[in-house]
């Protein structure tokens, strides 16, 4: 099939058929911020941080396929402010204590907070009452930090394809849960994969913490997005 031509903020870009805006933007050296998106997982479009404007409408760039002649607005003042607002809302609707979180420095939400220069909250803190489940043998589920991106639900399955993580409740009460029997059979490798897949510190591998020294963490020297953006 032929190459698809489209533009992002006026820049001529090329995409392969079937690529989403996020994927194509990456190939063209343009960073569109994401949080629930993870390469290799089916897009869910839950966080809306990748919101772009296509033909005057707000769209989730991680779920929208590129079409011929598409005109995408990405780095406009309005969109950047929406994104910042979403990040701020995610912070205030959870209980995020970065100073003592072992994901600090490796956390995508924190990294986005830095990228968008979130200096002070503009929304009131909700201080929700959330629980920590430490009863599983290999992982701790720290719901205070969960942003309901559903990466774990989509990405962690048993060898025969059964999902270990799931979602319960609705709206503001949504929370991640696990099939306790399946979770009990998780290996160390699966626990590590779940922790790495979680963009925040909501899934922690048991009995190991702060093993990566400051300075060597993912975002210590490379801010989020810098691996995609070309100078």
């Amino acid at each position: 099939m032929s190459t698809i031509n489209f533009t992002i903020d006026g820049k001529a870009c090329k995409a392969k058929p079937g690529q989403t805006i996020v994927e194509a933007a990456k190939d063209n050296g343009i960073y569109i911020p994401t949080l629930c998106h993870f390469e290799g997982l089916k897009p869910a479009g839950t966080c809306r941080i990748c919101t772009v404007k296509v033909g005057g409408r707000n769209m989730a760039a991680c779920t929208t396929p590129v079409t011929e002649g598409m005109v995408v607005e990405n780095k406009t003042a309005d969109l950047e402010d929406y994104r910042k607002a979403i990040i701020e809302m995610l912070f205030v609707e959870g209980n995020h204590m970065c100073p003592t979180c072992e994901k600090s420095g490796n956390c995508e939400l924190q990294a986005l907070g830095y990228r968008y220069m979130m200096m002070a909250p503009r929304f009131p803190f909700l201080f929700p009452r959330r629980t920590l489940d430490a009863s599983l043998p290999k992982i701790v589920i720290e719901r205070n930090r969960c942003v309901q991106c559903l990466r774990c639900v989509r990405g962690i399955t048993t060898a025969d394809g059964k999902r270990i993580f799931g979602v319960v409740n609705r709206g503001g009460h949504v929370e991640i849960t696990v099939d306790k029997d399946l979770a009990a059979s998780m290996t160390d490798e699966m626990a590590q994969k779940a922790m790495d897949l979680c963009p925040v510190g909501a899934i922690l591998k048991k009995e190991v913490g702060f093993a990566i020294p400051i300075g060597k963490r993912k975002f210590d020297s490379k801010p989020i997005g810098s691996e995609i953006e070309k100078a």
């Binding site: 003592t100 430490a134 093993a211 400051i214």
Partner: protein, 482 residues
Amino acid sequence: MARKITIEPVTRVEGHGKVTIQLDPQNNVLDSRFHIVEFRGFERFVQGRPYWEAPVLVQRLCGICPVSHHLAAAKAMDVIVGVGPDGLTPTAEKMRRLMHYGQMFQSHALHFFHLVSPDLLFGVDADPAIRNVIGVAMKFPDLAVQGVMMRKFGQEIIRVTAGKKIHGTGAIPGGINKNLSVQERDEFLKGADPMNIKKMIEWAQAAVNLFKDYHKKNKDFIDSFAAFPSNHLSLVRKDGALDLYHGVLRAVDADGKKILNDVDYQDYLKYVGEEVRSWSYMKFPYLKSLGKKDGWYRVGPLARLNTADFIPTPLAQKEFEEFKAYTNGKPNNMSMHMHWARLIELLHSAEMIEQLLNDPDLQGDKLVAKGTKVKEGVGLIEAPRGTLFHHYRINDNDQIEMANLIVSTTNNNEPMNRAVNWVAVNQISGKKEITEGMLNAVEVAIRAYDPCLSCATHAIGKMPLEVTLVDAEGNVVDQKRK
């Protein structure tokens, strides 16, 4: 008319506290108290957290010596993960020691140069407008620079061992998360003047000499001010050497008799109790064998030099011998000698840093040891301000279910109250006029103990002194604040 003097907050100490002194109509002191007005609550909110988070979480108690809490918690967690205090790899233990001595160095330098030197250089009753760190910087710029650079040196040592100057993550249960690269090491061994260890040792020695000169000229003040007999408690190495990172618990009484004979600190609850009094958020620890009334003790530099038999570095040992000779080998009970002891420790810390930097074990790559997990662990360390106790118990799910922390300053609660009372009775009681200088004398006595009251905030600058006049019925008649 009876009145109550309130000094709030006490300045040039770490954190917030206040002093109240009750006077009768003739200005005779009826009572004095040193109150700690802050409440922390770490022991409660650490409950439920995974145990491996504790070293990073609890260090947030303090911004001045977080390394102490970080390491005390890590030591307790070493016990919990079955490695125990003696099972760390050489690289892990020496990296932690380097971190700790770096902290000791920066904290002692900060205390002496920034907080105490204004009282010594300008006088206890000098004009408060110059009796502060800015005044020192203006009149004694070389000394002020030394203070700043020594603190910086210690902070940089912390950075390369813990990852950050304040609130790092270096120590983890059973070990450490990094070693020291040759490049990092050489920053300190071969750095351009003054940022190298040779210069730091030279300056630390000069600071000891500065105090000794001052002592010679102000013998009465240094020897008698807020002096009182007490018990002394600290960790010592198994062979009796001064060891700030690890050892056994030893206590001596005012005459030097051992009242706690090199016991394993895992059993600290057998020996140490804590009393609660209604007017302070700080508890009053005591040795159970002597009871609440007589069991109180001092911790910190003075106590450490009173319990230790020797110092295992040459320059500090020489100073230690002179220090011990001054009291004929008996325990030193003079509060102001705390500064002398602290500066000897400053020198010792610099020497230890040099020794450690030259140790190739720091470049080793065996960072973490593993053992069989247990449910409970105690970690003790000699923090800059004295013995620090951390005690944790975990449940079957690896969550902390109990934490007990006895912070260094808490151990010195009764001694600081005694010191305040000494000043109130000896320098304020019965005086016709109560001057600002007299009230500063109260603070000078407290400052000798280098208390860390909240372990996080830090009041500096103009002294916000408040004096309240209260009549016999307790009504406020007059209140002055400056």
